[in-house]
């Protein structure tokens, strides 16, 4: 099967990648473009560690053929990290020590961003519901829920940056 060129938006610019059919967005981001915040805990849609936003919607990039994001905007943890300092959600994760090994953290922050972009004042139930597809084996989830609550307080009204 011949390779094709796929174009999408990443970090505010257009990127072109040459891929074999059915190559995942996860593989392209990690191994062609070096966006290694996109993790690979299962590569079968089971853990959420590879969560990115496509046109603002959270998706597991391990199940997404890169052809499907042609012409769309892809957001990763790298692209929401400001040049100086950190995003309010990142700061909340630090403040609440909402990580131990850190491997699930990029996916947790991305799913939290998607939630807060849609719902700046989520209930605890809505937060737990949003995190349901993202697995963490270290923390027991409570510090992560607290971080998202903290981030909601910090960002509400102002809107989360980009």
């Amino acid at each position: 099967m011949a390779s094709t060129i796929v174009t999408f938006e990443l970090a505010g610019r257009e990127v072109e990648v040459m891929v074999k059919p059915m190559t995942t967005l996860q593989a392209v981001l990690r191994y062609q473009l070096g966006f290694t915040s996109v993790k690979e805990g299962c590569r079968q849609g089971g853990c959420g560690s590879c969560t990115v936003l496509v046109d603002g919607e959270p998706m597991m990039s391990c199940l997404l053929p890169v052809e499907d994001v042609a012409g769309r905007r892809v957001t990763t943890l790298e692209t929401i990290t400001p040049d100086e300092g950190v995003h309010p959600i990142q700061q909340a994760f630090i403040d609440h020590t909402a990580f131990q090994c850190g491997y699930c953290t990029p996916g947790m922050i991305m799913i939290s961003k998607a939630l807060l972009d849609h719902d700046p004042h989520p209930t605890r139930e809505a937060i737990v519901d949003a995190l349901a597809g993202n697995l963490c084996r270290c923390t027991g989830y409570e510090p992560i829920v607290a971080a998202v609550e903290g981030a909601a307080q910090a960002t509400a009204g102002k809107g989360a940056p980009r």
């Binding site: 996109v38 993790k39 491997y103």
Partner: protein, 446 residues
């Protein structure tokens, strides 16, 4: 007049936090090297089998196939992780020779230009196997006529010539005879997979100076380095292991599994080689917490003092023992629990079966002892008419008590911990327990 404390009692930001929240922390498989090859494993589809023949011809024709490794390529193919601290005999096969002892056991390593090519070639290796009867239960494995898993003829790890780790303290039979009650229980636990979100992985990179840099998520970098040097029969100073960042371990990444083969492949091909478990390998093949069966018999007075405890424990090590013999030693040292029991007898067996090898997991042989013992404590409390707090206070060990394995207790905190726990949950303790301490007993005090 204590000096001001800068850290104790305060929350301190983790030094790795900024890397974790920005995604800049580099985990093992975040490294990519030019010309990197991928290693995948042909695994046993049988629980117990003899290998008649392996046909690699079709696999070798897969585009991107680079080479296959079998046991003949491994300089020192039979090893024991704990051999570094004198544990014998060497027992685990890096790659299987003539017999397969568990489903998932590695047989052939395939090295290819891409992961897809490696997986394709693995799928095309033809195995001709003769299946053998298998055993999956610790007590079945000890019966006469059970299939023998090991290569030395019985299914137990031998502790200084004995089939179990033994502790003898006082005279349990004499104490059982004068006890008011005998309380018996059998406790079964199942294997548990650690299921870290990052799977087991390493990348071995040949360097210009003849050394090999091995990026690994091992929890035991020097154990892995030393065992790799032994297995490959090369001096340790040709290996530079880079570890430290582990995406979850919990004991699941202390075994020496991926580094020897990845390094061997790097030596044979002179190219970087990546060997990363898939999620299904992590769940089905990587070590688990052992399954245990624990028999406990306690002799108890009518006022709730435990005067004798006899424990017979069996840990299912699976086909190879890895860290399980050590876990059993810790188990035997702790099977009486944090209680002062004057007569104790413990037999703890590390049993081989045809299950996936088990190894370390948090608590390491003690978690299972605690499960069995604490259920026993509740049963005893109910029998003699005490509440669950009282039974633990009256049996709690104290500084100066001697544990069954002859360790003199120092810095005991069971009593103080229970007092703090009671305060936290708003439970009113009677005055005798509120004022009790772990200080050494007076002469003649029970």
């Amino acid at each position: 007049m204590s000096p001001a404390l800068n850290v104790v009692g305060r929350s301190v930001a983790r030094s790795d936090g900024i890397g974790h929240v920005t995604g800049r922390t580099q985990y093992t498989t975040d490294h990519v090297f030019p010309g990197m090859l991928h290693l995948k494993i042909v695994r046993s589809p049988a629980h117990h089998a003899r290998i008649r023949h392996i046909d690699l011809s079709e696999a070798e024709r897969v585009p991107g196939f680079v080479r296959a490794l079998t046991y003949r390529d491994v300089p020192h193919n039979v090893y024991t992780i704990l051999g570094l601290i004198g544990v014998e005999p060497e027992e685990e096969f890096v790659l299987a020779e003539d017999r397969l002892r568990y489903k998932g056991e590695p047989i052939v390593a395939i090295v290819a230009e891409s992961e897809e090519a490696a997986l394709d070639a693995v799928a095309r290796v033809k195995l001709d196997l003769e299946e053998l009867p298998a055993v999956f239960d610790v007590e079945e494995a000890l019966k006469p006529g059970a299939p023998i898993v090991t290569h030395w003829g019985n299914n137990t790890f031998m502790y200084e010539g004995h089939p179990c780790r033994r502790v003898r303290f006082g005279d349990v039979e004499e104490a059982f005879a004068r006890a008011d009650h005998i309380v018996e229980g059998v406790y079964d636990t199942k294997p548990i997979e650690h299921a870290a979100i990052e799977t087991t992985a390493c990348i071995a990179v040949p360097e210009a100076n003849g050394r090999y840099t091995v990026y690994t998520n091992s929890q035991a970098v020097y154990f892995s380095l030393d065992n790799t040097a032994i297995i490959l029969q090369i001096p340790g100073n040709r290996l530079h292991f880079v570890g430290g960042t582990v995406g979850g371990g919990f004991g699941g990444k202390v075994d020496v599994i991926v580094e020897p083969l990845a390094t061997l492949a790097a030596i044979k091909t002179n190219r970087p080689v990546k060997y990363a478990y898939s999620r299904s390998e992590e769940m089905q093949v990587s070590s688990t917490r052992s399954a245990w069966r624990i028999y406990v018999k306690d002799g108890v007075t009518r006022d709730g003092h435990i005067i004798a405890r006899k424990v017979t424990s069996y840990a299912d090590s699976g086909a190879y023992s890895r860290q399980t013999p050590y876990a059993l030693t810790k188990h035997a040292a702790n099977a009486a629990g944090p209680y002062a029991i004057p007569n104790v007898s413990i037999d703890a067996y590390c049993v081989y079966t045809n299950r996936v090898p088990s190894s370390a997991m948090r608590g390491f042989g003690i978690t299972m002892a605690s499960f069995a013992i604490e259920v026993q404590m509740d049963k005893i409390a109910e029998l003699v008419g005490l509440d669950p707090w009282s039974i633990r206070f009256i049996n709690a060990y104290r500084d100066g008590d001697v544990k069954p394995h002859r360790k003199v207790v120092e810095d005991a905190t069971l009593i103080e911990t229970m007092q703090a726990a009671a305060a936290l949950v708003g439970h009113d303790l009677p005055a005798e327990f509120r004022t009790m301490t772990s200080a050494p007993r007076h002469a003649g005090e029970e």
